[in-house]
Symmetry: C2
Subunit: 347 residues, 2 copies
DNA sequence: TTGTATGCGTTATCAG
DNA sequence: CTGATAACGCATACAA
């Protein structure tokens, strides 16, 4: 046990320099595209690097330049259970698609809704310098993260609407109305007058805006809502709320839900009690899930271009970070997709 | 309320040392749990760090220790379109759950099925030292990644079964049979004798194993399959295959699909042609989607514990990386969940 | 056009 | 128990 196996020496910029007979600085210049190197030596350097299989150590670069070449994606959810992904996978793929080409990585983080823990996590993220910026989701009406991030100097882009009065880079995919207005008009046109709304928690910006848009849209057509419920996004909550709605004196003839999974759970419950959709009750969901199309009946819902949302947010963030990217075009508007779950009001 | 920001100067270990009147080395020792520091000074150091809001710079640590404190998650998909996430979100959350506590980050990567591009990406991942190890998915029958990773010396754990003859760390969540056998027996017990199987591409290990398990299970009950189709995991492909099956002379009375989304699309198509499920045809899916429960009829399917799969894989990888974690217990077996989409054979 | 010297923030080694 | 010091691999200002 005298001789230990010699640790494999890492190939560094110095090795490349030595092999091509130049200084490390020259190698660095070549690989940072800063020019000032004769094309002859550049070729030599590149060849040497290739032969040695050298790549810049991201850790060293990060330390030296204070740039991590990575962005964080912070998911934030009220749901503590294991089975809810607080964002459509398509958003993820949109982000990946954009950041990969300029060489950025995506560092994923999922936090619960404990603000204290969350703030700590953001602070660490900033202090650790693991990421150059973050993509945030799930803005709360009272959200301390915006000030915190500004204080930390950590660039960020919010996916979704900002709280009222807060100015912050974001991707606004939800213009006031956001498909709710369309949903209400759709149901109204079908003759529905008793409409219930079962949405997400009002502590969140997006569900709040949607709830308000619902009320506005109802007023616009001269209706009073039968019921407006705010709950979390789970199937169970949707069932409870639906159940409650159906025990009232003036039972609704139509439901608008804040998420497709809620709508599907609602339909399931209704059918379990002998109520047929859309014969007896119409249902409209939100945020077209891939499977909504294949339900029976197919779910009428509001579709958003999730992939595009992710791509836009990523582009926005990278532009803030100084990456030369063209400004993204306008976002597709959410649109109502009418399928079988909504129909004429009964009799 | 809170302290105002000090935007410029980074707070380093030296600042903490100065503030607590010790050397940087002492601070380092405390935060690496190496002991050798009197508890009095340790307390002082910790307080100073807290007051200054200091955290180790991950870049510096990575450089010094050659440890990135991050693992990569490599998703790999045949599907080039934007709308398919090649892994359940629950797996992601399982991984996150495990790696967060010991301070690891999750770097997400999605690659297409171009082997050349993929190999390059792995090489870069290894050379860049951005991650200490990777979690892989979607093993192909002919998969060059295993040799490549071994050559690169990049620790890795495969989520899913390895190709035949390949020895590689992996989380085997799919014992031969994998719920298919159960599915076949279930349908057989209901009186079905003409059963079709519509699964994933045979170039992938998991669908291949499943297809073989199907044939075995059919033999075991003395049946010949009406049809065995291998296709990609899309809804469209499922519809085509289903259509084809129903135009044959001996139309199947039951379908087993390789994925829930395929099953749902199949049901949708069948109902569109006037065929009722389960009255005329029974359907069994695979890989319980959250929404499968709320379909009408509810989808009979094979459920796996996705969160657990992710957690196990992450634990395995971290253990390989030297993190002191208890060996994970056994994986839950996939199990058949019988819902409304499967019933007695007609007439 | 190229080389030299320095420091990014941390941890490990060696003294004290 | 604690401190001084030398790397880790790279990019940059400054020289040549």
């Amino acid at each position: 046990m005298t001789e230990v196996s010699r640790p494999v020496k890492n190939v560094t910029i110095a090795d490349v320099a030595a092999r091509s007979g130049v200084s490390p600085a020259a190698v660095s210049r070549v690989f940072n595209g800063r020019g000032g190197i004769s094309s002859a030596t550049e070729a030599r350097i590149r060849r040497a690097a290739e032969e040695l299989g050298w790549t810049r150590s991201s850790a060293a670069v990060a330390l030296r330049k204070s740039k991590a070449m990575a962005v964080g994606l912070i998911l934030n959810t009220d749901i503590t259970g294991p089975d809810v992904m607080p964002m459509p996978p398509q958003v993820l793929m949109g982000i990946e698609h954009v950041i990969t080409k300029p060489g950025y990585g995506l560092l994923l983080h999922v936090f619960s809704n404990d603000p204290e823990e969350e703030n700590q996590a953001y602070k660490r993220l900033a202090a650790d310098k693991r990421v150059d910026g973050v993509l945030m989701t799930g803005a709360r009406v009272e959200d301390t993260r915006f000030r915190l991030l500004a204080e930390l100097g950590l660039p960020a882009v919010l996916i979704g609407p900002t709280p009222p009065g807060v100015v912050f880079p974001h991707v606004e995919y939800d213009p006031p109305g956001a498909g709710v207005e369309e949903s209400v008009r759709h149901l109204f046109a079908l003759g529905h007058r008793r409409i219930a709304y079962i949405g997400g928690p009002l502590s969140r910006v997006q569900p709040k805006i949607r709830a308000e848009a619902f009320l506005d849209a109802m007023s616009a057509v001269g209706l009073q809502p039968v019921l407006t419920v705010s709950t979390d996004y789970t199937a169970d909550a949707a069932v409870s709320a639906t159940k409650e709605a159906m025990t009232r004196a003036d039972t609704p003839t139509a439901f608008i839900y804040g998420a497709d999974v809620m709508a599907m759970a609602g339909i399931h419950y209704l059918r379990g009690t002998g109520i047929e959709v859309p014969r007896d009750v119409s249902v409209v969901g939100f945020d077209d899930q891939r499977l909504a199309e294949y339900m029976n009946p197919g779910l009428t819902t509001v579709a958003r271009n999730s992939m595009q949302r992710g791509a836009h947010a990523a582009t926005e963030l990278l532009r803030i970070l100084g990456v030369d990217l063209p400004e993204p075009g306008p976002l597709d508007a959410p649109r109502l997709i009418v399928r079988g779950s909504s129909g004429p009001v009964p009799e």
